[in-house]
Symmetry: C2
Subunit: 192 residues, 2 copies
Protein backbone atom coordinates (compact mmCIF):
# COMPACT_ATOMS: atom_id res chain seq x y z
CA UNK A 1 0.00 0.00 0.00
CA UNK A 2 1.34 3.45 -0.90
CA UNK A 3 2.17 5.40 2.26
CA UNK A 4 0.02 8.39 1.38
CA UNK A 5 -3.20 6.45 1.03
CA UNK A 6 -3.84 6.04 4.71
CA UNK A 7 -3.69 9.80 5.01
CA UNK A 8 -7.19 9.86 3.52
CA UNK A 9 -8.44 7.70 6.37
CA UNK A 10 -6.76 9.92 8.95
CA UNK A 11 -8.21 13.03 7.39
CA UNK A 12 -11.62 11.38 7.57
CA UNK A 13 -11.22 10.87 11.33
CA UNK A 14 -9.82 14.36 11.76
CA UNK A 15 -12.91 15.86 10.22
CA UNK A 16 -14.68 14.71 13.40
CA UNK A 17 -12.04 14.49 16.18
CA UNK A 18 -8.37 15.38 16.74
CA UNK A 19 -6.15 12.32 16.23
CA UNK A 20 -3.47 11.80 18.88
CA UNK A 21 -0.22 10.12 17.85
CA UNK A 22 -0.99 7.11 20.00
CA UNK A 23 -4.41 6.65 18.42
CA UNK A 24 -2.89 7.08 14.97
CA UNK A 25 -0.40 4.37 15.75
CA UNK A 26 -3.06 1.97 17.00
CA UNK A 27 -5.14 2.63 13.92
CA UNK A 28 -2.16 1.98 11.66
CA UNK A 29 -1.44 -1.29 13.42
CA UNK A 30 -5.02 -2.48 13.12
CA UNK A 31 -6.08 -1.51 9.62
CA UNK A 32 -5.29 -3.74 6.67
CA UNK A 33 -5.30 -2.58 3.09
CA UNK A 34 -6.95 -4.82 0.53
CA UNK A 35 -8.64 -4.83 -2.84
CA UNK A 36 -11.90 -6.34 -4.08
CA UNK A 37 -12.35 -6.96 -7.77
CA UNK A 38 -15.39 -5.73 -9.65
CA UNK A 39 -18.32 -8.03 -8.92
CA UNK A 40 -16.60 -9.63 -5.94
CA UNK A 41 -18.58 -10.43 -2.82
CA UNK A 42 -17.45 -8.41 0.19
CA UNK A 43 -19.98 -9.84 2.60
CA UNK A 44 -22.49 -12.69 2.48
CA UNK A 45 -25.81 -12.69 4.33
CA UNK A 46 -25.14 -16.17 5.67
CA UNK A 47 -22.29 -14.96 7.89
CA UNK A 48 -21.82 -12.62 10.80
CA UNK A 49 -20.14 -9.45 9.55
CA UNK A 50 -16.93 -9.08 11.54
CA UNK A 51 -15.18 -6.44 9.46
CA UNK A 52 -15.83 -2.87 8.49
CA UNK A 53 -14.25 -1.45 5.34
CA UNK A 54 -13.29 2.16 4.76
CA UNK A 55 -13.40 2.76 1.02
CA UNK A 56 -10.27 4.41 -0.29
CA UNK A 57 -11.23 3.99 -3.93
CA UNK A 58 -14.23 2.34 -5.56
CA UNK A 59 -17.91 1.70 -5.14
CA UNK A 60 -20.01 -0.90 -3.33
CA UNK A 61 -23.64 -1.69 -2.77
CA UNK A 62 -25.50 -3.25 0.13
CA UNK A 63 -28.44 -5.34 -1.02
CA UNK A 64 -30.83 -8.08 0.05
CA UNK A 65 -33.02 -10.60 -1.70
CA UNK A 66 -36.78 -10.24 -1.97
CA UNK A 67 -38.73 -12.80 -3.99
CA UNK A 68 -35.47 -13.86 -5.59
CA UNK A 69 -34.67 -10.34 -6.75
CA UNK A 70 -31.79 -8.21 -5.52
CA UNK A 71 -32.94 -5.01 -3.84
CA UNK A 72 -30.25 -2.41 -3.27
CA UNK A 73 -30.46 -0.70 0.10
CA UNK A 74 -27.69 1.83 -0.49
CA UNK A 75 -24.39 2.53 -2.19
CA UNK A 76 -21.09 3.44 -0.53
CA UNK A 77 -18.06 5.01 -2.13
CA UNK A 78 -14.79 6.82 -1.43
CA UNK A 79 -14.45 8.09 2.14
CA UNK A 80 -17.26 5.98 3.60
CA UNK A 81 -17.40 2.88 5.78
CA UNK A 82 -19.26 -0.15 4.58
CA UNK A 83 -20.43 -3.18 6.57
CA UNK A 84 -23.68 -4.99 7.32
CA UNK A 85 -24.81 -2.61 10.08
CA UNK A 86 -26.85 -4.75 12.43
CA UNK A 87 -24.76 -7.84 11.81
CA UNK A 88 -21.58 -5.93 12.58
CA UNK A 89 -22.79 -4.26 15.76
CA UNK A 90 -25.04 -7.02 17.15
CA UNK A 91 -22.85 -9.92 16.01
CA UNK A 92 -25.77 -11.73 14.47
CA UNK A 93 -26.53 -12.68 10.90
CA UNK A 94 -28.67 -10.32 8.83
CA UNK A 95 -30.23 -10.21 5.37
CA UNK A 96 -27.63 -8.05 3.65
CA UNK A 97 -25.01 -8.85 1.04
CA UNK A 98 -22.25 -6.45 0.03
CA UNK A 99 -20.78 -6.41 -3.46
CA UNK A 100 -18.04 -4.38 -5.13
CA UNK A 101 -19.48 -2.59 -8.17
CA UNK A 102 -16.00 -1.53 -9.25
CA UNK A 103 -12.51 -2.56 -8.27
CA UNK A 104 -12.55 -1.32 -4.71
CA UNK A 105 -9.60 -0.58 -2.42
CA UNK A 106 -10.35 -0.56 1.28
CA UNK A 107 -8.90 -0.30 4.75
CA UNK A 108 -10.32 -3.09 6.82
CA UNK A 109 -10.90 -2.96 10.57
CA UNK A 110 -12.00 -6.05 12.48
CA UNK A 111 -14.80 -5.72 15.00
CA UNK A 112 -12.58 -6.79 17.91
CA UNK A 113 -10.06 -4.11 16.98
CA UNK A 114 -12.81 -1.53 16.87
CA UNK A 115 -13.96 -2.66 20.32
CA UNK A 116 -10.39 -2.27 21.56
CA UNK A 117 -10.27 1.26 20.16
CA UNK A 118 -13.61 2.16 21.74
CA UNK A 119 -12.41 0.81 25.08
CA UNK A 120 -9.07 2.64 25.10
CA UNK A 121 -9.79 5.83 23.18
CA UNK A 122 -12.95 7.67 24.31
CA UNK A 123 -12.53 10.02 21.37
CA UNK A 124 -13.35 7.07 19.12
CA UNK A 125 -16.76 6.89 20.76
CA UNK A 126 -17.21 10.54 19.94
CA UNK A 127 -16.07 9.97 16.38
CA UNK A 128 -18.65 7.20 16.01
CA UNK A 129 -21.42 9.33 17.46
CA UNK A 130 -20.66 12.31 15.25
CA UNK A 131 -20.20 10.35 12.05
CA UNK A 132 -23.44 8.47 12.71
CA UNK A 133 -25.14 11.83 13.03
CA UNK A 134 -24.14 12.57 9.47
CA UNK A 135 -25.58 9.32 8.18
CA UNK A 136 -28.68 9.85 10.30
CA UNK A 137 -29.33 13.13 8.51
CA UNK A 138 -29.03 11.47 5.11
CA UNK A 139 -31.49 8.78 6.15
CA UNK A 140 -34.06 11.31 7.33
CA UNK A 141 -33.77 13.15 4.05
CA UNK A 142 -34.16 9.94 2.12
CA UNK A 143 -37.27 8.93 4.03
CA UNK A 144 -38.73 12.36 3.33
CA UNK A 145 -37.93 12.21 -0.36
CA UNK A 146 -39.48 8.76 -0.71
CA UNK A 147 -42.97 9.87 0.26
CA UNK A 148 -45.15 12.22 -1.78
CA UNK A 149 -42.69 12.36 -4.64
CA UNK A 150 -43.09 11.14 -8.21
CA UNK A 151 -40.67 8.60 -9.67
CA UNK A 152 -39.04 11.44 -11.59
CA UNK A 153 -38.51 13.52 -8.47
CA UNK A 154 -37.05 10.49 -6.70
CA UNK A 155 -34.55 10.05 -9.50
CA UNK A 156 -33.63 13.71 -9.52
CA UNK A 157 -33.12 13.67 -5.78
CA UNK A 158 -30.93 10.60 -6.21
CA UNK A 159 -28.76 12.23 -8.86
CA UNK A 160 -28.41 15.23 -6.62
CA UNK A 161 -27.37 13.44 -3.44
CA UNK A 162 -25.30 10.75 -5.21
CA UNK A 163 -23.92 13.37 -7.58
CA UNK A 164 -20.41 11.89 -7.85
CA UNK A 165 -21.39 8.28 -8.38
CA UNK A 166 -24.83 8.03 -9.99
CA UNK A 167 -23.38 7.60 -13.47
CA UNK A 168 -21.25 4.66 -12.33
CA UNK A 169 -24.23 2.56 -11.22
CA UNK A 170 -26.33 0.22 -13.43
CA UNK A 171 -29.90 1.40 -13.97
CA UNK A 172 -31.56 -1.62 -12.44
CA UNK A 173 -29.78 -1.11 -9.14
CA UNK A 174 -30.76 2.54 -8.99
CA UNK A 175 -34.37 1.59 -9.68
CA UNK A 176 -34.48 -0.90 -6.83
CA UNK A 177 -32.79 1.62 -4.52
CA UNK A 178 -35.50 4.14 -5.38
CA UNK A 179 -38.32 1.64 -5.14
CA UNK A 180 -39.44 1.94 -8.76
CA UNK A 181 -39.19 -0.50 -11.67
CA UNK A 182 -36.34 -0.26 -14.12
CA UNK A 183 -38.80 0.19 -16.97
CA UNK A 184 -40.13 3.33 -15.33
CA UNK A 185 -36.62 4.63 -14.66
CA UNK A 186 -35.65 3.96 -18.24
CA UNK A 187 -38.62 6.01 -19.48
CA UNK A 188 -37.74 8.86 -17.13
CA UNK A 189 -34.21 8.95 -18.46
CA UNK A 190 -35.45 8.84 -22.06
CA UNK A 191 -37.46 12.02 -21.71
CA UNK A 192 -34.43 14.15 -20.89
Amino acid sequence: MPVETKEQLFRHFESYIPLSDSLKKELEDRIAFSTFKKGQEIHNAGKVCTESHFIFQGLTRLYFLKDGKEITEYFSSEGEWVNSPRSFTQRTTDIYYIEALETTEVFTLKVQDLVFLFDHFPEMERYARLSMNTVFGHFLERITSMRFTTAKEKYEHFCHTYHDIYHRIPLGMIASYLGITQETLSRIRAER
Copy 2:
Protein backbone atom coordinates in the same frame (compact mmCIF):
# COMPACT_ATOMS: atom_id res chain seq x y z
CA MET B 1 -42.06 15.19 40.32
CA PRO B 2 -42.53 11.85 42.08
CA VAL B 3 -39.16 10.40 43.10
CA GLU B 4 -39.66 7.10 41.34
CA THR B 5 -40.25 8.58 37.90
CA LYS B 6 -36.64 9.39 37.19
CA GLU B 7 -35.86 5.74 37.76
CA GLN B 8 -37.31 5.10 34.31
CA LEU B 9 -34.76 7.43 32.78
CA PHE B 10 -31.92 5.78 34.70
CA ARG B 11 -33.07 2.34 33.63
CA HIS B 12 -33.08 3.59 30.06
CA PHE B 13 -29.42 4.62 30.36
CA GLU B 14 -28.55 1.41 32.15
CA SER B 15 -29.88 -0.64 29.27
CA TYR B 16 -26.86 0.70 27.35
CA ILE B 17 -24.15 1.58 29.91
CA PRO B 18 -23.51 1.21 33.65
CA LEU B 19 -24.39 4.41 35.52
CA SER B 20 -21.85 5.59 38.08
CA ASP B 21 -23.09 7.49 41.13
CA SER B 22 -21.34 10.63 39.99
CA LEU B 23 -22.95 10.49 36.55
CA LYS B 24 -26.31 9.79 38.15
CA LYS B 25 -25.91 12.87 40.29
CA GLU B 26 -24.95 15.07 37.35
CA LEU B 27 -27.92 13.79 35.40
CA GLU B 28 -30.26 14.47 38.30
CA ASP B 29 -28.94 18.01 38.60
CA ARG B 30 -29.36 18.71 34.92
CA ILE B 31 -32.70 17.18 34.01
CA ALA B 32 -35.92 19.10 34.57
CA PHE B 33 -39.34 17.50 34.73
CA SER B 34 -42.15 19.20 32.86
CA THR B 35 -45.49 18.56 31.21
CA PHE B 36 -46.90 19.50 27.81
CA LYS B 37 -50.64 19.58 27.33
CA LYS B 38 -52.33 17.76 24.48
CA GLY B 39 -51.87 19.78 21.30
CA GLN B 40 -49.14 21.94 22.79
CA GLU B 41 -46.14 22.91 20.68
CA ILE B 42 -42.90 21.44 22.02
CA HIS B 43 -40.67 22.86 19.32
CA ASN B 44 -41.14 25.37 16.51
CA ALA B 45 -39.31 25.23 13.18
CA GLY B 46 -38.43 28.89 13.43
CA LYS B 47 -36.08 28.32 16.36
CA VAL B 48 -32.89 26.44 17.08
CA CYS B 49 -33.73 23.36 19.13
CA THR B 50 -31.72 23.61 22.35
CA GLU B 51 -33.46 20.96 24.41
CA SER B 52 -33.96 17.24 24.18
CA HIS B 53 -36.91 15.63 25.95
CA PHE B 54 -37.03 12.11 27.34
CA ILE B 55 -40.66 11.03 27.33
CA PHE B 56 -41.77 9.60 30.65
CA GLN B 57 -45.41 9.43 29.68
CA GLY B 58 -47.23 10.49 26.54
CA LEU B 59 -46.88 10.74 22.78
CA THR B 60 -45.41 13.29 20.38
CA ARG B 61 -44.94 13.71 16.68
CA LEU B 62 -42.26 15.42 14.62
CA TYR B 63 -43.65 16.99 11.46
CA PHE B 64 -42.94 19.55 8.76
CA LEU B 65 -45.00 21.56 6.32
CA LYS B 66 -45.20 20.72 2.63
CA ASP B 67 -47.51 22.78 0.44
CA GLY B 68 -49.26 24.00 3.56
CA LYS B 69 -49.96 20.46 4.77
CA GLU B 70 -48.48 18.84 7.85
CA ILE B 71 -46.39 15.77 7.07
CA THR B 72 -45.51 13.60 10.03
CA GLU B 73 -41.94 12.32 9.99
CA TYR B 74 -42.21 10.08 13.05
CA PHE B 75 -43.82 9.54 16.42
CA SER B 76 -42.07 9.26 19.78
CA SER B 77 -43.46 7.86 22.99
CA GLU B 78 -42.56 6.54 26.44
CA GLY B 79 -38.86 5.81 26.88
CA GLU B 80 -37.67 7.75 23.84
CA TRP B 81 -35.90 11.05 23.33
CA VAL B 82 -37.48 13.67 21.13
CA ASN B 83 -35.87 16.77 19.60
CA SER B 84 -35.35 18.27 16.16
CA PRO B 85 -32.30 16.15 15.27
CA ARG B 86 -30.25 18.31 12.98
CA SER B 87 -31.27 21.51 14.71
CA PHE B 88 -30.26 20.10 18.07
CA THR B 89 -26.89 18.72 17.02
CA GLN B 90 -25.86 21.34 14.46
CA ARG B 91 -27.36 24.32 16.31
CA THR B 92 -29.12 25.58 13.22
CA THR B 93 -32.78 25.96 12.40
CA ASP B 94 -34.52 23.14 10.57
CA ILE B 95 -37.93 22.41 9.07
CA TYR B 96 -39.37 20.34 11.91
CA TYR B 97 -42.07 21.10 14.45
CA ILE B 98 -42.78 18.94 17.48
CA GLU B 99 -46.24 18.61 18.98
CA ALA B 100 -47.65 16.72 21.96
CA LEU B 101 -50.43 14.39 20.77
CA GLU B 102 -51.38 13.62 24.36
CA THR B 103 -50.56 15.16 27.70
CA THR B 104 -46.87 14.40 27.76
CA GLU B 105 -44.52 14.32 30.75
CA VAL B 106 -40.84 14.69 29.97
CA PHE B 107 -37.37 15.04 31.41
CA THR B 108 -35.67 17.89 29.63
CA LEU B 109 -31.93 18.17 29.04
CA LYS B 110 -30.42 21.33 27.58
CA VAL B 111 -27.86 20.99 24.80
CA GLN B 112 -25.13 22.67 26.85
CA ASP B 113 -25.70 20.22 29.67
CA LEU B 114 -25.47 17.33 27.25
CA VAL B 115 -22.21 18.74 25.93
CA PHE B 116 -20.94 18.93 29.50
CA LEU B 117 -21.86 15.31 30.07
CA PHE B 118 -20.17 14.22 26.84
CA ASP B 119 -17.02 16.11 27.84
CA HIS B 120 -16.81 14.72 31.36
CA PHE B 121 -18.31 11.23 31.04
CA PRO B 122 -16.95 9.20 28.12
CA GLU B 123 -19.58 6.55 28.85
CA MET B 124 -22.16 9.08 27.72
CA GLU B 125 -20.54 9.06 24.29
CA ARG B 126 -20.90 5.31 24.30
CA TYR B 127 -24.52 5.57 25.38
CA ALA B 128 -25.20 7.95 22.51
CA ARG B 129 -23.49 5.69 20.00
CA LEU B 130 -25.32 2.58 21.13
CA SER B 131 -28.74 4.18 21.38
CA MET B 132 -28.30 5.73 17.93
CA ASN B 133 -27.57 2.26 16.64
CA THR B 134 -31.02 1.21 17.77
CA VAL B 135 -32.69 4.08 15.97
CA PHE B 136 -30.50 3.43 12.93
CA GLY B 137 -31.89 -0.09 12.70
CA HIS B 138 -35.47 1.17 12.83
CA PHE B 139 -34.75 3.65 10.05
CA LEU B 140 -33.24 0.99 7.80
CA GLU B 141 -36.27 -1.20 8.34
CA ARG B 142 -38.59 1.67 7.59
CA ILE B 143 -36.80 2.53 4.36
CA THR B 144 -37.06 -1.11 3.34
CA SER B 145 -40.74 -1.33 4.14
CA MET B 146 -41.51 1.81 2.18
CA ARG B 147 -40.40 0.40 -1.15
CA PHE B 148 -42.11 -2.40 -3.04
CA THR B 149 -44.96 -2.60 -0.57
CA THR B 150 -48.64 -1.88 -1.08
CA ALA B 151 -50.43 0.70 1.04
CA LYS B 152 -51.96 -2.13 3.02
CA GLU B 153 -48.59 -3.72 3.76
CA LYS B 154 -47.23 -0.35 4.83
CA TYR B 155 -50.08 0.03 7.29
CA GLU B 156 -49.64 -3.49 8.63
CA HIS B 157 -45.93 -2.91 9.10
CA PHE B 158 -46.74 0.32 10.91
CA CYS B 159 -49.20 -1.37 13.29
CA HIS B 160 -46.58 -4.00 13.97
CA THR B 161 -43.66 -1.69 14.77
CA TYR B 162 -45.77 0.96 16.51
CA HIS B 163 -47.78 -1.75 18.21
CA ASP B 164 -48.25 0.08 21.52
CA ILE B 165 -49.25 3.43 20.15
CA TYR B 166 -50.84 3.09 16.71
CA HIS B 167 -54.36 3.22 18.13
CA ARG B 168 -53.61 6.50 19.90
CA ILE B 169 -52.77 8.37 16.67
CA PRO B 170 -55.25 10.14 14.35
CA LEU B 171 -55.63 8.49 10.96
CA GLY B 172 -54.50 11.49 8.93
CA MET B 173 -51.17 11.61 10.72
CA ILE B 174 -50.55 7.93 10.17
CA ALA B 175 -51.34 8.37 6.48
CA SER B 176 -48.83 11.17 6.06
CA TYR B 177 -46.23 9.18 8.00
CA LEU B 178 -46.75 6.27 5.60
CA GLY B 179 -46.83 8.43 2.51
CA ILE B 180 -50.36 7.52 1.48
CA THR B 181 -53.58 9.57 1.47
CA GLN B 182 -55.97 9.35 4.36
CA GLU B 183 -58.75 8.25 2.02
CA THR B 184 -56.73 5.20 1.05
CA LEU B 185 -55.89 4.44 4.67
CA SER B 186 -59.53 4.77 5.62
CA ARG B 187 -60.50 2.23 2.94
CA ILE B 188 -57.80 -0.16 4.10
CA ARG B 189 -59.12 0.00 7.62
CA ALA B 190 -62.70 -0.51 6.45
CA GLU B 191 -61.94 -3.84 4.82
CA ARG B 192 -60.83 -5.46 8.06
